[in-house]
Subunit: 211 residues, 2 copies
Amino acid sequence: MGGEFRIGVLVSGRGSNLQSIIDACADGRVAGRVAVVVSDVEDAYALERARKHGIEAIYHAPGRLKTRLEPEREEALVALLKGRRVDLVCMAGFMRIIHEPLLTAFEGRIMNIHPSLLPAFSGLDVQRAAIDYGAKFSGCTVHFATADFDAGPIIRQVVVPIEDDDTPETLAASILQQEHRIYPEAIQLFIEGRLKVDGRRVLTLAKQGEP
Amino acid sequence: MGGEFRIGVLVSGRGSNLQSIIDACADGRVAGRVAVVVSDVEDAYALERARKHGIEAIYHAPGRLKTRLEPEREEALVALLKGRRVDLVCMAGFMRIIHEPLLTAFEGRIMNIHPSLLPAFSGLDVQRAAIDYGAKFSGCTVHFATADFDAGPIIRQVVVPIEDDDTPETLAASILQQEHRIYPEAIQLFIEGRLKVDGRRVLTLAKQGEP
């Protein structure tokens, strides 16, 4: 891709996954840098985090729709990300479903993270859903974002046990720890060109010089 | 329950899970015995296995329906199991959906095992489904059988990783190994009275004398 690898992060909330990506860039686990952080929520703490690290932090007004950006706003977001020469878009707690302009402009270059072992428990409030269902395991999933919400090709998953005394809050905390580990891993595999998408499957190629 | 704990096993095929239950009864991991094995398939190898161990093995003609027993045949099955004073019914590769007479007669006393991490990948040919979906983990689930197919309260689950080079066959073999471990465990917990069903959740009570 020539020069440094530039990551754009989309956020809506406190940005703990954003922090894990920033940290991984800082200590070399991710060979890139966060070029821009964009939030659809004006007072999202994630913007504050970005500024603390000297990263450009932008509130991008979403328009009047609830579950997605207004189409013109999504086109403006594409222009914004292209203007920063973003190589990879990472959704990190971004609470809107993305659509055509963004998906097309960054096809195969948008990742998302979800706090369950997809395909189980997609959607919202998923830790409670997993506990109420009586599942003995949940986890988290890093996947490519596609037009199928919560159902793009899976890059990495981690399993987290659900204990009898878990609450949605304790389970969310256990899962979040793992999210902070695998999101940077998935990004680095992408940077190294080691993710091979084959239909719905994402195979991991060996590192050059390794078997 | 007074006297020995009597297990009835429903089968349709080769009966490898039946074998794991027989073995666990023999070596004391399960404090009960298989009192009867019933198959809806006349030449199921599971019947042969049962006979080798001196266990009553019955071919129970299913009637003309494909996915379930004919209602009269299901009632006859209930009579058969009651006649053997069965305390717990274990479905082990039994390829028919059970309905009212059996569910009512043995309410809360029917278990099934499924080769996926439910609620993901219910139904048939699930190892292929998990691989094709691109899931990084699957596993197996022991659950109580209810009117909701593949969706009764979950007693035990085990996770099995899906490797890039797994085929439906290799994955099935890995999962089956774990099935053979957790099905006897779940049965023993039932016998010990340690499974507490709370809504959809099945909590495991501590062993008497343990915290």
